[in-house]
Symmetry: C2
Subunit: 309 residues, 2 copies
């Protein structure tokens, strides 16, 4: 199975409100909820692609229970979240139905105790034994050491399990130094990591810092990949309009599924770009539009770039 | 014991946010949660005054479980909420720490099935047998008939249990016609019920419509009571500043505790006014400041008013 790690899971709640006015009282007309956090989004897409997926990370309190209840209704995803005393965070997206704009309120998440972090590491090492690949996704909750991803990458490499890292800031910097098989930063995360604002140079720099392969997501322009097997640019056949929430997570699912299926890099990249675009096109944030994916995947342009370009 | 009924219970969540800007993303710096809905607030104050209280109404889904978990940590309050399939609503108060202003987001609440409403009525009639008084509080959730409070008042009267009604709109209008022992409208609710904007006339009119006693809450001016034993105005000794959330619920708790303790009306009114002011003064919305209450209760001015005044 494929393992995804979400240390800062969330219950993602969406409220629809006809006109949001600060300091007024609003009747919410529609409430939707789903398990959230980047690794859970990646898992949902992997399951939709037909892969067996296990999710781990932390869950606690009433919100953690609500999240785990909902996971039982997500076909193909096995729940291996580790219990904690604190309460899993909620994120609330308030969609103004008059303008379509979204206001986001994000709870901080539970503080993880040292014993809880140790319990997680043990559970993770057990899960690695039956994993074909692992994705480490998202921010770290309070209490987890900033070098957490570096530790988890070393454990995966010791078990010979390919590991993909998708995070930002200092956890990314330390994680890259632990030599993950792949990182998938966006342009901002890459610039923060390397100090270089030009993706071509920044991706090369990120490889020098330790990542075996670097796949940068460049929004509507697709992906730029620097790998031991070669360097490519993958571009969607047309510009798509919609909600970009979850597009990066779908790209991770595309890369990871391509890796375990031993696809050549250009096919992995085409899949990641098509999934990403099909996620922007889906009416519900974070889902992907399957007919759009199937139409797009054969039409993504993947071109080799010179290693020094 | 005293019974409080909250058909539309809620989990009241407060977020503190440094500056709320529509269409931006916000990190919530502090999250607090407590069981909400008017009858639950009344129960908490009654318990703090040393009364045995049982709460009933509906609870369902993950939010209902979270609410019931928190009730187990509320000393003196017994949980007799009736399970429903739908999910209990959340209310979110977003407090802007820069300005102190609050933006409110209220979920609609679960739809109650006819069988759930019947199950509630049976449970309620059982609970009435051991009740010394009952308070019916707040709005009706979808699916509950608009004449619900009238039915519950008739059942209480059939069991010879004194009944207080605190609601608004059509449920208030129908409830008053069922002859409750007491109603506690605010000035707006009273004007909507009677069409009279002058409290003196409106309270007399509300009695004519069926309520044995009418206690109108007039904000900072205190209470105006029309009862079979006489008519009074009760005024706090000074104007208090703070958060008025829950002040009306504290007044209900004061009136109801005075009733079961067989206090004379002027003492009930003094208690209700002092509790209400002490709630405005408390740092946490819906709590009351006990030293302030004890200081204020002896200093409330209660004066008789002529029945025709």
């Amino acid at each position: 199975m494929i393992l995804t790690v979400t240390l800062n899971t969330a219950l993602d709640i969406t409220y629809r409100v006809p006109g949001l006015r600060p300091h007024a009282s609003h009747r919410v007309t529609e409430v939707t909820e789903r398990p959230g956090g980047k690794g859970l989004n990646v898992a949902r897409v992997l399951a939709a692609l037909g892969h067996e997926v296990t999710v781990t990370g932390f869950a606690g309190g009433a919100t953690g229970r609500a999240l785990q209840d909902q996971l039982t209704h997500t076909p193909g995803v096995v729940d291996a979240l580790v219990p904690v005393t604190g309460s899993t965070r909620r994120t609330i997206a308030v969609v103004d139905t008059a303008t379509g704009d979204t206001t986001q309120l994000n709870e901080p998440g539970p503080s993880i105790a040292p014993t809880e972090w140790s319990a997680f590491q043990e559970a993770y090492e057990d899960l690695l034994r039956s994993s074909s690949a692992v994705a480490l996704c998202g921010s770290l909750p309070p209490g987890v050491p900033v070098g957490a991803y570096a530790q988890l990458i070393r454990a995966a490499r010791a078990s010979a399990v390919p590991v993909l890292l998708d995070t930002s800031g200092e956890p990314l910097r330390r994680g890259v130094a632990a030599r993950p098989d792949m990182v998938k930063p966006n342009a901002d995360e890459l610039a923060e990591l390397t100090g270089a604002h030009e993706p071509s140079q920044a991706t090369r720099d990120a490889r020098r810092r330790g990542a075996h392969a670097v796949v940068a997501s460049l929004g509507a322009e697709g992906l730029l990949a620097r790998t031991p097997e070669g360097d490519w640019r993958a571009t969607p056949p047309r510009r798509v309009h919609g909600n970009p929430t979850g597009a990066g997570d779908s790209a991770v699912a595309g890369l990871l599924s391509g890796l375990v299926e031993h696809l050549p890099w250009p096919d992995r990249l085409a899949r990641a770009v098509a999934l990403s675009a099909a996620t922007v096109l889906a009416p519900v944030a974070g889902e992907f539009d399957r007919p759009a994916y199937e139409e797009l995947v054969g039409r993504v342009s993947v071109t080799g770039v010179a290693a020094a370009a």
